[in-house]
Subunit: 325 residues, 2 copies
């Protein structure tokens, strides 16, 4: 949803702060817990769980003048579930912490948010198993999700190899374009078109690509990430974690969105998949057999970590990072 | 930390709101997930995890003029870990979501909070396996904890039977008294006494009773709850869930605290344990063998759910509930 606000450039952005937090936590932290979208936790007595925690804060991640409380609840749960999709995991359950402003009307707000959480829970098959309710300064929804790999191995951000094909599970920029259209209509009061409606839905009710993630895992994907902060930034993160570069030749742009929105928009929750060339046919066939949209190859992984190209030009780290510091 | 603010009495308080949320979520929710301190999740491939989510919001649960950022981090992690203790579980890992105000200095605030999280993580043996960092309106720390029962069954709030002995793992009111003393000293600037220091530590650095919870579980406790919102209120909750009453004859008050603070203070994290009379000797012996403080019997469970007495007088639902509605 756009790059950091001007004036915040001197602050540490999220990736750098996470590095400092890792150092503070020292030996107590599972090494990939703050690097990947989710962490894998071994369960005494057998099995393992993929777990992740994700926050949605009103005024930071969502604009309550453009979204209903139910939309906020939906986005919070789906955003967390998307972290499971990015590891190739299937949802087992969610925990929801809701902080609502201490002011008149927070009962309605609470129930509205939880209605959206419940809708996203049914849509994704991720049951809410527990929660916490608190007064708070700003509407904040924090969701922890748990998932299973059914005995398989998680697909991490790290693992992409030189020569891998880079796929994306669908066109990008719809969510960012939806936000733009909602703002335009909010400001100008113009009538809503059919395209407005579908873009607004992409922003308000995004869907995690759970089936797509699981198929990619079963097809042997080397590395994967979901597009939560922007295709460009999230692909850079995958390349950073894997110690590789990339060369893209095409970017699928959602109808009604711009190329900039597709590259830097975020919250599309499409998956970026790096997979060996010899597995590509099998991967695409598995997607078709599962009734999924065909994935689109957008480029290849390069060995040189400094090579980060789109159409022969350097691709910047466009995308959404929280300015913190 | 005191009863709901005057003027909020017409609002729904937490217990009622949770009931409405349960109805909103309908069939999608594990029945005990929003009732007990923690939920038990079966893990595909074997085993199960006890999971819980808990929030600490500056200005609501903690006063940043009386606590350091590290204290806030400690309290957030320990408060969540205490939910594991209350089920008799052993920690497996935690996820931490941190929302910090978007203002100058939040980098220091973030690292300060995480330092306290790390200290509480080492103290409780609960490793941080993942996290999320976000800008937000008010400092908010949400912690999800996961624990194991090593193949045993969780001790829930429900399960207390008429005739059970009611134990408490230690004296109460220290945390509330610590808050009172910190406020007094903040307002008057008076010198700190030795007792002030130990009460302030009870407020700033409470400890979850993990070993005590596990011993009570292994001794066959029927029901258990941790004192997060006040001995009286949390005992009422245990009695509500179990469909029973109680008759207390004594309340152990922490040195320097008042009876009111012991009954309504909250955040002591001592455990209330209901256990069959025939198991009491074994339970007390197990505590001694484990090097724990001897638990104190404070009363008995009564069959009549309407009987809720302390020393023959009705015991009110004193304690901390968030006014929401």
């Amino acid at each position: 949803m756009g790059s950091p606000k001007p004036g915040h450039v001197r602050r540490l952005v999220e990736d750098e702060m996470l590095e400092r937090i890792r150092r503070t936590l020292g030996g107590g932290i599972e090494p990939h817990g703050l690097r990947d979208d989710a962490a894998v936790v071994g369960v005494p007595g057998g099995g393992s769980l993929v777990v992740s925690i994700d926050s949605v804060v009103a005024g930071i991640h969502v604009d309550l003048t453009l979204c209903s409380p139910a939309d906020v609840g939906w986005k919070a749960l789906m955003g967390a579930v998307s972290d499971l999709a990015a590891m190739g995991a299937r949802p087992v359950g969610a925990l929801v912490a809701l902080c609502v402003p201490a002011a008149t009307g927070e009962g309605e707000l609470t129930l509205g948010v939880m209605e959206g959480v419940a809708e996203a829970s049914r849509q994704s098959g991720c049951a809410v198993v527990g929660g916490d309710l608190s007064a708070g300064g700003v509407l904040t929804v924090v969701v922890t999700v748990m998932g299973t790999l059914d005995g398989g191995r998680a697909v991490e951000r790290a693992g992409a190899l030189a020569g891998d094909a880079v796929f994306i599970t669908g066109p990008c920029g719809g969510s960012a374009a939806g936000l733009r259209v909602l703002r335009e209509r909010h400001e100008t009061g113009r009538d809503e078109t059919g395209q407005d409606r579908s873009l607004a839905a992409a922003y308000r009710r995004p869907e995690a690509r759970l089936a797509e993630g699981e198929v990619a895992r079963l097809a042997g994907a080397h590395a994967m990430i979901d597009i939560s902060d922007g295709l460009a930034l999230d692909l850079h993160r995958l390349a950073d974690a894997s110690g590789v570069g990339f060369a893209l030749d095409t970017i699928p742009v959602a109808e009604g969105a711009t190329l900039e929105e597709a590259l830097g928009g975020g919250e599309d929750y499409e998956l970026i998949v790096a997979i060996a060339p010899r597995e590509v046919d099998d991967y695409v066939m598995r997607c078709t057999s599962a009734g999924l949209r065909p994935p689109l190859q957008i480029g290849v992984i390069r060995a040189d970590t400094g090579s980060r190209y789109l159409g022969g030009e350097d691709l910047g780290r466009l995308g959404w990072q929280h300015a913190v510091g």
